[in-house]
């Protein structure tokens, strides 16, 4: 019995010692990285870790403007040429200095077809990369798209690698050597990832935290309980309703409008939905505000073809009459199209990211105008396989948006575009997309994309739905935490703990 008490006291001591060590931030994330090679990763969960370990030539600031990062400055010399001036005195975590050779190596590796890098498609118009004046790097392009290429340099996939490290045979999927504010200290798959402060980070005084421990907790109840219980300081919130359980005197909520958007994607070559009029009828029959309320608990906003957050480019959803819920009009259009009694079609959905819930609301709403949607709930791998083979009548999904409309529209709506699984083909749209990509004058570009947005709404190969806020919650000891519209967490470097 005495021994038992000894252990008990020890246990309590251990607990008090561990609780709230300053400088160490514990966060709960829902999914873990799949591979760690920044050039290769596609999973968002990998990006979230790597963006704090590696740096790109550019990065985003808080208002999503492109700012220099490893590049000290950058310049669009002409629509065919981009020039970066490399920052001096930057060191990799291994201690080796960053040189222009590393930059060249990184992009050559990225563009090499054998690497099979996801970002390679964006750089395919790059004709040459070379060093000028010792510390400047010049990108030459075959078409005048310098402005729309720039955002790619801030992506995780364009993080700068150490040539020496890679050539030493290191497996980048398992180990990391970047220039970022944190070093990868430990990664126990299925459990946690620990990042340690990079003491030689090129921005003096940053980062504030000594250590970040990202704990992988797939269940919402677990994450929220861990936050309430004090086991974690910061948690990703997937169900906005959980916020009710986090009293405002003890917790801070960080909500952020994001560029990604929910959509009902339609196979434009199958059945009744191959008729644009029918697709447009669905536009009227869907009550988007109701979806935002029921699925996202009002933590989101209705979006058109471009996210309203992109103030310069996007037309407001209210500018489209199709976005006003109008079942009568929907019926009228259906009758005109020859389906006075509605029709039946399939919505493919998986349980991830509440796809199944969005599908349920749409199913109920379409039933009101006599359209019978059957939800085909599938496992994620099957969902992807159906997506890739365009084997669906329609599906619910979440697309990542982009700062530049060309990146988002070209791959999605151009005939044969890389993510045009809707098999949508419209010569007018193709022509506009080609013009938009190579137009240098920004006001001209805006006109082109306005016209495109209007066509995309009336034709609706995709029914745009809404964009859900990203939600994080922290306890009061955490200061300076922010997340960005692209769901990036690079501001962990400016986060601190009392």
């Amino acid at each position: 019995m005495k021994r038992f008490f000894q252990i008990l006291v020890l246990a309590l001591l251990a607990v008090t010692l561990l609780a709230g060590s300053p400088g160490k931030l514990v966060m709960a994330i829902e999914t873990e990285p799949v591979g760690l090679d920044p050039t290769l990763v596609t999973a968002f969960a990998s990006h979230r870790v790597l963006e704090n370990v590696y740096d790109g030539l550019l990065r985003y600031d808080e208002s999503m403007n492109l700012v220099p990062n490893l590049a000290e400055s950058f310049e669009v010399v002409d629509p065919y040429t981009i020039l970066f001036k490399l920052r001096d005195g930057v060191k990799f975590h291994s201690g080796d200095p960053l040189t222009s050779e590393d930059v060249i190596f990184t992009f050559e590796r990225l563009m090499n077809p054998d690497t099979k890098a996801p970002a390679a498609t964006y750089y395919k118009e790059v004709s040459s990369i070379k060093v000028v004046d010792g510390n400047k790097i010049e990108f030459k392009l075959t078409i005048p798209m310098a402005a729309s290429l720039l955002p790619n340099f801030a992506g995780v996939n364009s993080s700068i690698l150490s040539k020496k490290f890679v050539e030493s045979g290191a497996n980048l999927q398992l180990s990391a050597n970047g220039t970022g504010p944190f070093e990868l200290a430990d990664y126990v798959a299925g459990n946690y990832i620990t990042l340690k402060r990079n003491t030689e980070y090129f921005i003096e005084g940053l980062p504030y935290l000594d250590e970040i421990k990202m704990m992988i907790m797939p269940e919402e109840v677990t994450r929220v309980s861990a936050l309430r219980n004090g086991d974690v300081d910061l948690a990703r919130i997937n169900e906005p309703l959980s916020l009710n359980q986090l009293p405002t005197d003890r917790f801070k909520i960080h909500r952020n409008a994001v560029l990604s958007y929910y959509l009902l994607g339609i196979n434009t070559t199958r059945g009744p939905l191959s008729n644009p009029k029918v697709r447009n009828a669905l536009n009227y029959a869907i009550n988007r505000e109701m979806i935002v309320k029921l699925v996202a608990f009002d933590e989101g906003a209705v979006t058109g073809p471009l996210n309203p957050e992109l103030e310069f480019w996007a037309m407001k959803p209210s500018q489209f009459s199709e976005y006003t819920y109008n079942p009568a009009k929907a019926r009228e259009l259906l009758t005109e199209a020859g389906y006075p009694n509605g029709f039946e079609f399939e919505i493919v959905a998986s349980q991830r990211y509440s796809f199944d819930k969005v599908a349920q609301v749409i199913q109920a709403q379409l039933a009101e105008v006599g359209v019978r949607a059957k939800i085909n709930l599938v496992e994620w791998g099957i969902f992807i396989s159906k997506w890739r083979e365009s084997d669906f009548d329609s599906f619910i999904s979440l697309n990542s948006g982009s700062i530049d409309p060309d990146i988002q529209f070209n791959r999605t709506f151009h005939t044969g575009g890389s993510t045009n699984v809707f098999l949508y083909s419209n010569p007018e749209v193709d022509a506009l997309l080609d013009r938009g990509r190579s137009e240098a004058d920004i006001n001209e570009r805006q006109k082109i994309y306005n016209q495109l947005q209007k066509i995309l709404v009336t034709e609706s190969p995709i029914i745009f739905l809404y964009s859900a806020n990203t939600l994080f919650a922290t306890n009061n000891s955490v200061e300076g935490f922010r997340s960005l519209a692209n769901e990036s967490l690079i501001f962990l470097r400016e986060t601190s703990k009392k």
Partner: protein
């Protein structure tokens, strides 16, 4: 004699285990969506040539039966391959994940026995009384609700009441025993409650079986102290089937903790299995299935040997 028995049992298990791995192999390759699909996700950045090259790299361009043959061939050199997604060796992954699942299984079984056996004894001795009914209902509660539901409720209750208790963040036993025990408490309790119902039921049935046998009745009639009788004679015999059941349940726990590992964010093998099935990381799926299969076979043999220790009358054949 015993050695020969073990060898024979092991050999006879080989076809079973191979059959399991083959069925799983077929199933996971036939399910739509392969590892490359999932790697690319809802993006499409590779040309058809590059994709075909990936299939070649992973050896997925060969006929299924050949792929399986290669896997079996590699087994003979104890080469389970490497994960297609992370490049880690399957053996290493198993080494990382299995101890967590094993610990969870052992603790759960411990709870199950500690709860199940005493309740079972009470319930048998007080058969059909009010106490029996109460005990049985309590004992069955853990088995009567979805384990993730019980787990979630326990999490909510505990995290609200014990603010300083370490509920999450698995650490290994060797690195910090106290943290480890704290983290393992709730998940093992959840699973333990579930298994305890079976233990209770088995203890009760087999106690009743023996209590009604003639020699016990005679002993009772002769006035042998009832408590002594139960402790010394009845219990010992009654526990034999409980041992078998524990073996079966341990096997079940080792293979079936997926949902609980997810709920409590434990980095165990079940969660890994679910993840790699979702990612179609074929070598890892195969490796885990093989491992669980072998484990269950070994466990069954162990149980049979334990039998002879508890009850010398039982002979291994």
């Amino acid at each position: 004699m015993e050695f020969g028995y073990i060898i024979r049992r092991l050999l006879s298990a080989v076809p079973t285990v191979l059959l399991v791995t083959f069925m799983v192999f077929l199933a996971i390759h036939l399910v739509p969506g392969d590892v490359v699909d999932i790697m690319l996700g809802t993006q499409n950045y590779l040309t058809q040539d590059q994709i075909e090259e990936l299939y070649r790299e992973y050896g997925l361009d060969k006929p299924l039966i050949v792929q399986y043959g290669i896997w079996v061939k590699n087994l003979f050199t104890f080469n389970l391959g490497t994960s297609l997604r992370t490049g880690k060796s399957v053996t290493e992954l198993l080494g990382e994940r299995f101890p967590v699942t094993l610990e969870l299984a052992v603790f759960s079984l411990f709870f199950a026995l500690v709860i199940g056996i005493p309740l079972g004894i009470i319930s048998a001795v007080k058969r059909n009384s009010f106490i029996d009914n109460v005990v049985r209902v309590i004992g069955l509660i853990g088995l009567s609700s979805p384990s993730f539901w019980v787990g979630a409720i326990l999490i909510v209750l505990f995290s609200g009441v014990f603010e300083n208790f370490n509920l999450f963040g698995y650490v290994s036993m060797s690195s910090n025993l106290i943290d480890n025990l704290q983290v393992m408490l709730l998940p093992s309790l959840t699973l333990g409650l579930m298994v305890s119902a079976q233990i209770l039921r088995m203890t009760r049935t087999s106690m009743l079986d023996i209590l009604t046998q003639d020699y016990v009745r005679t002993a009772r009639a002769k006035g042998v102290n009832s408590r002594n009788l139960i402790m010394k004679h009845v219990l010992k015999n009654a526990l034999i089937p409980v041992v078998t059941l524990s073996g079966i349940q341990l096997g079940y726990l080792l293979g079936g903790t997926i949902v609980i590992e997810n709920m409590f964010a434990l980095p165990g093998m079940g969660r890994l299995l679910l993840q790699v099935v979702n990612e179609r990381d074929y070598p890892v799926v195969q490796g885990i299935v093989l491992f669980i299969g072998v484990l269950i076979v070994l466990l069954n043999i162990l149980v049979d040997i334990l039998y002879t220790v508890i009850d010398p009358r039982v002979e291994l054949r």
